[in-house]
Amino acid sequence: MSEIASRLQHHFADEEQQYDAATFGMWVFLVTEIMFFGGLLMTYVVYRTTFPQVFAEASHHLNIYLGTFNTIVLIGSSLTMAMAVHSARLNHRNALAGYLVLTMILGSVFLGVKSYEYAHKWHEGLFPGNFFYDGPDAVHQRLFFSVYFALTGLHAAHMIIGIGIMAVMLRMTLKNSFDENWYTPVELTGLYWHFVDLVWIFLFPLLYLIERHG
């Protein structure tokens, strides 16, 4: 009981209210993230509506196998993150640490594949800038790749931050900071990581799967 009492801040009526306030706060932050990505998605929608054919052609430069592989990796990392929160809830310390490490590994695999894709695009001259290739419709293709690098870059930045937060969670786990009555930071890290997965769920079809037929 002394542990529980020490976790409860004096301005909350009880543990439940404290937990609800914390998760609600996280959701408030996540909605600001929707707006953050939303501005870029708006750019995507406007340019794709204006140049549908160019966007389809530019999209075919992306490697659909790597994109699909990364989607599977990220969904896998969402499962391990859900299992990490589950383990925290049951106060299974070793399982929590293991699942956090597994999630970090899967996140790193995603980033590794992504950096390979970036390097490939760079060598093909598809990074917007002075060395952009001068094939057909280069001016408009540049728009697609600007949006591609901005969206996936912002997403990757979120993943790097997420892995950093998980490192902190791992440290707290190993220092016995959590128990079944208080694991709120793990739950909130989970919400953040699942949100990153959610963003990719939309980015994958929008960027990789345009007009693949024919």
Binding site: T23, M35, T49, L79, H86, P205, E211, H213
Partner: protein
């Protein structure tokens, strides 16, 4: 801590079910992209993405069984995002429909 009593077996089963569904939908969306459905390709891709997003939000992110305030707040957020999408498109798609320069 959440108010509801927690059933560990049921929770793990739900997580694994959602994971399998997400994998299935990923395969489906890639397969659908190679079929020529005309403008419906976009609709199918987005419908699958929204279904996947709802599964993740409800089960992995514990919207189901959590505070209803969270659902209300996120719905408002998505509604705001829809407004952000709709109003610029209203302008973009209605340009030059009158055939009068500048209108």
């Amino acid at each position: 801590m959440p108010k509801h009593s927690y059933n560990p077996q049921a929770a793990v089963r739900a997580y694994l079910t959602v994971f399998s569904c997400l994998m299935g939908f990923t395969a489906l969306t890639v397969a659908a992209a190679f079929v020529d459905l005309g403008p419906m390709n976009n609709v199918v891709a987005m419908a699958i993405a929204v279904t996947k997003a709802v599964l993740v939000a409800m089960i992995f992110m514990h919207l189901r069984g959590g505070s209803p305030l969270n659902v209300l707040w996120i719905s408002s957020g998505i509604f705001g995002f829809m407004i952000m999408l709709a109003f610029p498109l209203l302008d973009l798609l209605s340009r030059n429909i009158l055939g009068i320069p500048g209108k």
